[in-house]
Amino acid sequence: MTDLPAATAASSRPDGRASPGLRARLPFLIPLVVLAVVAAYFYVGLGRDPHVVPSVLINQPVPELALAPILGRDRGLTTADLKGEVSLLNVFGSWCVACRVEHPLLMAVAGQDLVPIHGVNWREPTPQAGPAWLARLGDPYTLVGADPDSRAAIALGVSGAPETFVIDRAGVIRYKHTGPITADDWERTLWPIIQKLRAE
């Protein structure tokens, strides 16, 4: 075989038939293409948090809420309270570690009076737990309602705390943030949305 002229070896095989061209080799590429597609899917899927469920409530009015006040306050929270100005609705609990992480940011926002933050105090083990937590760490909320049996949480499609809804002047949910709000989330996402909604 080694003594065959190079030109002959390239153009034809010793049996006289043409060497397999690109066309003949194409079927072997199919598994490679399939692998690439599947790999791309998995790569995208790896970067996604399965606990972030896209809310179906975006652009829908806040559901009917009539939450009792928490201990130490005489006003609770109703749907009507969420109309009239752009506001945040934050679902939190004293049992929730991520809420504690988020808490300083909410305090800063409330301290600078950037936007009213209303709270849904979700599923406290005792009526004292939520108010005690706020007394210890500071209370950033304009209005707070208690939700001991998850009625409001379910109505809002909440799957975990904290979750924060941006509500427009008409009382319509315009954005939902799942998990603690970081300084980055605030600057890049939430604050621009609030300003945009105010300009509407």
């Binding site: 409530l57 998850s150 379910i154």
Partner: protein
């Protein structure tokens, strides 16, 4: 004798295993159960259709998450208020989206999900048929006697082989 004891033990183990089933891993608590067995049966049926949002691969019927418990209680409260099964399911879906249903509905966004297995099976069948046919053709090709030209080429090649 020992053999009979062993098989009896095996049967017992299997029976225990089957009996433990679902519901054993937490799920519906005694204090949630409705006094009306018909209503409770409907609540169970609905509970098995709904995904627990906390431990996402369990239904709310089997989950021991607090949110799942509250959802079970809500389902029961709605049934007691006279909601139909459909209305209860629709309410929860209206809050959480189709994601909350453990059996996704057949719609445009889920065509691929439902038809995927059948499509893959079809593609596999086609691939097997093509492969088998090709192989049969190659075998026929190999069985064909060499032509005179091929014979001459082969002889030349063999002659040129270095010893």
């Amino acid at each position: 004798m020992t053999r009979r004891v062993l098989s009896a033990a095996a049967v017992l183990l299997v029976a225990l295993f089957l009996l433990s089933g679902t519901g054993h891993a937490g799920g519906v608590q005694p204090d949630e159960i409705l006094s009306d067995p018909a209503l409770e049966a409907r609540a169970r049926e609905i509970g098995r259709e709904l995904r627990c949002l906390v431990c996402q691969n369990q239904s709310i019927d089997e989950s021991n998450a607090e949110l799942a418990r509250d959802m079970r209680i809500l389902v029961r409260a709605r049934l007691q208020e006279g909601d139909t099964d459909r209305e209860v399911l629709d309410y929860v879906v209206s809050r959480y989206g189709d994601f909350v249903r453990l059996r996704p509905p057949f719609q445009t966004s889920t065509y691929l999900l439902w038809c995927g297995p059948a499509l893959i099976l079809m593609a596999g069948t086609i691939a097997v048929v093509v492969f088998v046919r090709n192989r049969a053709r190659t075998r026929d090709d190999a069985a064909r006697p060499l032509t005179d030209a091929e014979r001459a080429r082969l002889a030349a090649l063999l002659r040129d082989q270095p010893r």
